[in-house]
């Protein structure tokens, strides 16, 4: 088949950036990476991109196709060719471009390293007997352990575009891979570190990371698990945690969100007072509903009692998110069929 691509080229020596057209003859089974190999081999040997395993394991060939971060080795070209569409290939986002499709991943690796991505077993000498862990104990980190660190989630992270220091979805998913590991003894210390001002509460829940991950890691869910574990451990000093806790308090008191009190409960009274002018501009338009009398849901006693039931017989912390993963993975399988 004839495959046409448009590729954003970047030459660091001249600083020139240009969208170039390419067309090659490729076998029908070709993926995007095969086509790039053919272009490099037959048309322009100076085209730069990363690759290694060619089978979705190494995570080297992350790049954008029509603005979406993908693994070049995972994208089959035949349906695209048949549709007549000519895709635009470019480097991943949120990382500086070194040349053509190659990005500088050093900030990415620094953030991964800052997570202390190794087991802290709590002993120095290796014990005589091995520890046996069941499958059930390891299941909570199954998804996070699938990460191949390709950077596709980071490429489109909306929070990182605004705060480049945000730890980001890949590093935080790696963080949960250790926080949730029953063999690790540094859970609380890790959670303290991940509650940094550029940590878990920077996430804006745009879900681009879950959408882009080629391995089903669902980094946003991992961030939510870190939030749940932090709050379960009483690490709730961040405004993000206070914001989340106020929703819980609202549900178990009035049922509906107590919107007007959300600002002082999240930011503190002083900050809320500094916002008075802004609040008044909203109040004029009815956007600041008076907290009294409270807007109470009908049969709210059920929501209050449910909280107590969950606290006594429910599952705690991140396990509440993990419990739904089997059902969700069933949807993924159904979608693939």
């Amino acid at each position: 088949m004839d495959v046409a691509l448009k590729i954003w080229r970047y030459d660091p020596d001249s600083g020139e950036r240009a969208l170039k057209n390419y067309e090659v003859e490729a076998p029908e089974w070709s993926c995007l990476l095969d086509v790039l190999d053919l272009i490099k081999d037959q048309v322009d040997g100076s085209l730069a991109y990363r690759k290694s395993c060619r089978m979705m394991i190494c995570g080297s060939c992350g790049m954008r196709m029509d603005g979406r971060a993908v693994l070049a080795c995972k994208e089959r070209m035949k349906p695209i060719v048949e549709s007549g569409h000519v895709p635009v290939i470019s480097a991943m986002g949120n990382m500086p471009v070194l040349k053509d499709l190659v990005v500088d991943m050093s900030p990415f690796w620094t953030k991964i390293k800052n997570m202390k991505p190794w087991l802290e077993t709590g002993y120095e000498e290796i014990p005589d007997k091995e520890f046996i862990h069941s499958q059930e104990e390891m299941n909570p980190i199954h998804k996070e352990a699938l990460c191949i660190m390709c950077g596709c989630c980071v490429s489109e992270c909306n929070s990182m575009e605004s705060d480049p220091e945000f730890f980001g979805p890949a590093a935080l998913a790696k963080g949960f891979r250790f926080v949730g590991d029953p063999r690790d003894r540094m859970k609380v210390e890790r959670l303290e570190d991940y509650n940094d001002e550029h940590g878990i509460w920077d996430c804006t829940r745009c879900y681009f990371c879950n959408e882009r991950c080629p391995k089903g890691v669902d980094p946003r869910d991992a961030i939510a698990k870190l939030g749940a574990e932090s709050i379960a451990e009483g690490i709730d000093r961040d405004m993000g945690a206070k914001h989340a806790n106020w929703f819980v308090h609202s549900a178990r008191t009035t049922g509906w969100l107590r919107e007007t009190e959300l600002v002082p409960k999240t930011q503190g009274v002083v900050s809320a007072i500094q916002q008075t002018k802004f609040a008044l501009s909203l109040a004029k338009r009815g956007k600041v509903p008076p907290p009294f009398p409270p807007h109470v849901a009908e049969n709210v006693q059920e929501a209050r009692a449910l909280y107590d039931v969950v606290k006594t017989r429910g599952v705690k912390g991140a396990a509440g998110i993990v419990q739904g993963e089997r059902a969700l993975s069933r949807i993924e399988h159904t979608n693939h069929e």
Binding site: G67, N158, S159, S162, D163, F166, W201, D202, C203, T204, C206, Y207, F208, N210, E211, A224, A228, I231, G240, A241, H243, A244, N245, F247, A251, R252, G255, W256, L257, E259, F278, S281, L282, R285, G286, K287, V288, P289, H295, A297, N299, Q301, E302, A303, L306, Y307, V309, V310, R313, G314, K316, G317, G320, I321, G324, R326, A327, L328, I331, N335
Partner: protein, 294 residues
Amino acid sequence: MKVAYYKGCLASLSAKELDSSTKALAPKLGIELEELESVTCCGAGDIHEAEPDYYLHLNARILAYAEATGADTLMTICNVCTLNLRQANFQLQNDDALRERVSDNLETVGAPRYWGGVEVKHLLWLIADGEGYEKLKEVAHKGLKGLKVAPFYGCQILRPSKLLGFEDPDRPWSLEAIIEACGGEAIDYPAKIKCCGFPIIQAREELALGELIQPIEQSLEAGADVMVTPCPLCHLSLDAWQQKLEAQTGKSYQMPILHLSQLIGVAAGLDDSELKFRRHVVSVDPVLEKLEAP
């Protein structure tokens, strides 16, 4: 069609104009609303993060009350409610043991059990396709006179697509189809599928404003007269926090922001008492003047 109507927190409080315009519009589109009374907040991602098991139970309770109405559809008017309810629903529908445990707990507190018989759909989906879309074309008799409308989807009606799945999350079409059916012109710009920053606007305002500026500036540059969104949280962010962007950049945007039900409502000739534009922070008058111009 009869649907169980879940309006969520914002439409009950700071975005009452969304509730009133939805209630006025729905019957014209053949959607009979049975409003859920004994329900609470869906948790908005916050309870999902702080107390995940409580989140699941609260959403199961909403689904159970929706099921008890006899309707097979629970209609939402907020992206965040849509994702939270759909996520809980998929878990409860696909894991019998989980649904049994949660239903037992619901029964303990006096709520109905949930049997898994409800589908959660946003108003947008009910009118972008099929019978709803045909009705829309009849209802929007006043038209929008070529008004240039920038669709803003927001995040949690598109992603994660395995839970939402109505349309391609990278090339959505539903808002554009509705804008055009109403006689407007849909404006294209890259940030229409990105985040408005609302979930962290209290805890990380500067970061959130860095996200919010993109759709506002891009839609303005693309020549939009007005933006429309299916989410009251995006609406609040775009409408109320726009003044903070103006203070930060020294620019004047004055971009009016409409709820989906208001945009269709204008084309359908709804009354001002139903549209309630006076509740907006950025004035909608320029839009109305353009529509009234000969």
